[in-house]
Structures are given as C-alpha cells and as structure tokens.
Amino acid sequence: MALSILKPIGQKNGMFQFKADIGTNTFYQYEIGQGKKKYKGIDQIALVRFRSPILSRNHPLQKIAASSFVLEIPEQHFDREKDKVQLISFKNQDGSGLAVSEVINIFPSLRSDHPPLFPSFNLSVENIAMESTSVKHKPFNYQESKLSKPMFWGALISAIPAVIGAAAPLVKKLFSKKKKTSPTAPASATTEKPGSSTKDEILGAIIDMLGNIKGNNSAPQAEAPAPSNPQPAAQSLSVGKFIDPATLIELIPFFEQVISRETLLAIGDDPLKLFKAIGEAALKMTDQEAASVMLRKDSDTRASRKPDKYAEAQFLSKLIGAIPGVPPIVKAAIAPHTLLGYASPSQQILKSLMGLGNNNGALDNLNLGINGTNHTMNDDDLAGLLASMSMSSASVPAIPFKVKTNVKLQFVATNTVELHGKKRLLYSKNSDLHFPIKITTDHPNAPQNAIPKVIVQAVFHDAETDQFLLEKKFRLKDIQLEETISNIVISKDEAIALPNDKDIKLNLSFIWKGKKTKENCGVFKIHYFRVVSDYLFNRIGSAVETPIPLNDVVSFRPFWHKVWEGGFSESKRWEVSLAVKYYYTVDLREDTISKLSTKRKIETDNAGGERSSNRRKVAGKIKSGMELSLHALNQLLVSRSKSPLNEAQLEAIRTDYLKKSYTQVARTQVELRGRAGDTATLWTYPEISIHQVYLARPNTVNELGQVTELTEEVVEFPRPSSIHFIGTKSE
C-alpha cells in the first residue's frame, strides 16, 4: 500500500532525523516551508521554500530497509521562517500513486504546558525525541572585535577636515570662507538673512549631541547591578568620547551645506556612521567638481600643489597610525613621505572606504602604499576591520549636477521626539511622509525670479547596510527662493519599502538648469529619519528580581550545553588545564536556540605529540557559546508565570540595540584530572535576570506624518546574567 509517514526521532551531527515509511511506493521527496493550508481536505505546506530532488527507495544516499527508513535532513534547511516539513511519496516518477504525510512542525514552542522537554534526567543528547529539541547546532563563527572601531573612526573623523581641505576644492572654499570671516568681521557681517541659514540649528544639534555624550548615552544599555564577581574590563566603549568636539565645530560649514540637523542628532555620536555620511557627501561634491579641479590644476604652480598632496599623504599616514595593533613596520611603511609618489592617496582611500572604485576596497589601496616600500600587510585584524568598512554602493543613478555652494537646501518643520536618548525624526507608517524643504541663498545678488523648472530626486537607503530602498523624482515648476516647498511626499503605500525602526538615509537633490550655462546645477542634503508602526524599542532598564538559575535539567535542557569532553586512555594520570570563554548572543532571525561548536587550541602538551604513559599534562584554550532567540527567551517568562511579550512587542525589540546588549562573555580557567580511561566533561548553564524593557508607542502624529509624541510602555524580558561552568568526571 502506498504510504507517506514521517515521524521525528532526533537530531544528530547537524541533521534532523525522521522515521519515514513510504509503503509500496518507490519514489519520495520532502518539502520544507512555512505555514499550513488545506487542499482537498489534506494538510499541505502553504509556502514551499525548499524541495528535495526526487529520491528513490534504492537511492544510495538513504539506507532503506523494507518500506521504512531513517530520513536525514540537514539542519540548515530550517529556520524561523522555514519550520515545517512534509514527505510526499509516489509510485512512479511522473507523480502517480501519490501519498502525503502530515505536516511536521520542527520547532515546537518551549511552553511550560508542553510535556517535559526531556524524558529522563539523562542529559545525554542521544536518543532524544524531536519533540524535546528546540535546539540547533552551528559552527562557532565569531570573533571578538579586537580593534576598537569607535576609536578608529573617531581618529578618522579628526582627520577629515584635512582630507576635505586637500581633496575637495568646494569644501576648501567653505572652510577658507569661515576662516576669513570669523576672527575679524563684526558679528553683524556674518549674520545670515533670517531663515537663510541652518548654522544655529547645526550648532544646536552638536551641543545637544555633546550633552548626550557627556551623559554617556551611546546606546541603550542595561542598568545592570554591579557584578558580584568582577572580571577583566570588557570592551564597553562609549563611541561618543572618541569624537573630538573641536572637529565637529570645525565641520559646521560642511554640515550646514550637506547634512541635516536631524542626521547629526541621529548619528552624530557614532563615528562610523558620521564618517560614512561625511564621506558620501564629500565624494559627491568632489565628483561634480573634478573637471574644474583639473582645469585649475593646469594653471597652478608646482609649488602650490605640493602642500595639498602632502596633506593627503599626512591623512593616510594618520589614518593608519590611528589603528591600534598595526605593526610598527606597517606604520613606518606609510609615513607621509613614502606616499607622495601616489596621486591623491586620500581620495583613493576615501573612495575605497565608501565602497567605490575597484572591488578590492580599502585594503588594496593600503597595500598599494605599503607594497611601494616592499612591506606586506598581513595583520588579520586590520584586514578584517578594513573589510568591514566597505559599503555596498548599489543604488539608482544619481542625476549629475554641479553643486552650488552659495545655495542651501533646508528641511523645515521637522518635529523630533526623544528615543534611545536622542532626538529623532520619526514618521508614522500609517501616514504619508511629507518632507517640506526650503531653498535659501546668502548670495548678495540672488535672483528674484522663480526657478522655472526643477527636478527633486529623493533616494532612500538603509543607513546601516546602505541597501537601496526607494527612489522618487518630483518635477516642480516656479520655485521661489525662501519659500517652503510642500510637494515632496512619499505616500504610505510607497513607504512600505522603508523598514520599521531603522535609520533611513534620504539623499535629497534639488536640481535646475543654469540660465547661462544650460548645465545642471543643484544642491543636496543627507537627512536621517525612521518610520515606526505600533511599538518601538527604547532601552533596557534594571533587573526587577534576583537572577534565576536555569538549573532544571528537564525544563531548561536547551540552555544546558556540553562544551567539552575528553580524557586520555594511554596515560596513567592526566591533567587538562583550560582557559574557557563562553559567549551568549541573540540571533534575531531564529526562533530556536543554537548551540555553537567548541573551538579548541592546545597551547602546551608534555607528550610532545607522542602517547605518554605517565602523567600527561595539557594546557589549552576553548571557546564556545550559544545563540539565544527572542522566542525562547519569551517562553522563559511563561515558565516564570509571567506574561510573555505579544508579537508586536517582540518585533519591536528585534533590534541590533538589543542584540548588542545581549552579546556577553564569561571567562574562566578550569582544571580537570583523571586516570587512564577516565573522561571529563565541562557543562554550562545560565542564570537569567528579568529586566524592565522600555517600549515606546506613537501617541500623536501631525499632518506631515511625523510622530510628535511617544508614550512609554514598560514590559519585562529575561537576559542572561551569569554562567555556571560545571566540571564532571566519570566515576
């Protein structure tokens, strides 16, 4: 009889195992996907995301005995969105004689009203029914950020005024203008026309930001109680303290021209994001000016070019010098004088860091400089850091235009609200998004007539990943300077392309045809905002009760992890000393817990590679960890008879802010001893603290779609606070 029966039996070596029975059928196939639907009264997977090849009962990959057999499916086929499997069998390859199994859900909930997760006290992972496992196994694929990125980017930003001064004549002009006017001219001479300058706003944003920095407001952090067992200081860096306020002040004219106040408020204390925004703007202007720069260079004297080039070389040298951990030989190799042989090194670096130019990115450019003096850069950390800097530049083509430095684009009527300790511009996902702007100029002979035809290009990117999201062009007529332009609107249907609760970067260009030159002229500005729906994650608060050990080996078995097991059968006595690091982090995309494999490194072994018959002494390092899931943590609340977060609340906390706060490490040293034939084991399990989590809900939204008031809602959510390392030895 044709059958199709699928029963979960366990999990082994990265495979989910099932007992399958196809009766008298010969062929079978399994499908993995999400959701369940009924078709002609039979349950089926609603959205099939993976379909195996058609296999036969004699297929060499599957050992089939009689009509039933063990079907093994690699774990990586499943995740939070692909959590169901179904077996389909048929008599002939054309699909006749079809039979389908029931739809099996791979990751059941960790609900407390489920039967015990493990049938016995035995902690062994063998012979465990599928119902009891909400756990995946993954390779350990992490490394600690050894270099301080905030420190690096802070140093980089300090160097930017020099870069811009050397590489972008346009910005140089802005800076020289500031220097000319500020020390000598009377205050009234520098006063802009009312409404024609954003300088005060920019200065206000910087002051705001510095206030935040002083308040140690880099990112939401849990207000954890003082640790009872102090460990060596971990990397918990406030990014803010690595930006020199003087640098920010020096950059005011630049910000005023191309970066909105809202952008500064959102990212001004994050060196990396700020650098990317500055770099993007500087390069855009430089590209527009390149032709005129070349023309000017022809008339320049050699003497006048040398200092600029040396400034660029100095920047590159400063850039590398700012990176801790770079071997001195590398630093020596990129001293300013060694770089003077290259054309515009800082421009090359800047372009590479921004992901432009050739695909090999910054590292190649650095190697270019270094190889010039016969040194090779092989520092893995540096390579990793540089690799992480490059951004994808995929987007729509930007309309080319010549930047007019005496014209400014200003976003008006922006209402900010406090979120993550910063003032932010938030738009409601349920409204159209209005971006009113105003075009101003400080030119003494500004034309009084309206600009007859204008194109406004709005390009939206995910500010974190630089992924392109949306582009819209607006064709406008008769635009009068100093008047508010209200027709830059993204409808709520178009705004579906914009992700919730993430910084979105709007690059808005205002372009018109020059009256005399007939070429495109324009101004642009980078503007940050967020769109929000029901809930927003704000911050993690203090722990509300004493830590809870997850020491119930049945209910909390998924949180117990056997990280090491070993022994020596050839030595009379043995002794293993291990430096252990165990990490917790959160995988925001998974619903299951993932135990990470253990990485081992032997430091010393008195057997020297031979089998030792006496006292074997081995010292080494191991590191392992666990990726938690929000779903699994949420179910811990149920086990404590507390209300779990609802789906909207869970979605709100599914943020990188939370992940950052949940990424933790415990370090310890353990020693395990035994006699010949003994085995020893190292287990871990966590204690968790229930923390207050502050969510925000949009309360009022204005006619522009901007959120003008947020209300606070406090919920509770668990976070690991400590780890138990338990060593055992065979009896």
């Binding site: 009872s228 990397q235 893995d380 086990s639 415990a666 338990i726 055992t728």
Partner: protein, 52 residues
Amino acid sequence: MNDQYQFPDLSHTYTVALEDDPVLLDGQRVLFDKKVTLMPVELEKKTETNES
C-alpha cells in the same frame, strides 16, 4: 517544574565536600561548579577575509 530535576547550585560548595558527598550529572561525578558573571563584549561574524 519538578524539584527533583533541579540541579543544585554548587558554586559555593568546596571541592572537598563534593568528594565526600558526590553529586552526579549525566552519570558523572561533579568536580566543581564555577559561577561567572557575564560581561558585555563586541562580537563580529567571521567573514572570508578575516577567518583564521
């Protein structure tokens, strides 16, 4: 939750005491229970370029 499945907190117990009054876990004798506070750390996924 059932008390019989709750592994005792032995982090304040001397190793000597564990020898005199052994506790078994998964059929093996417990040697120690070290409780360590978790500290924040910056982790990054290894990529092809920085995998060592």
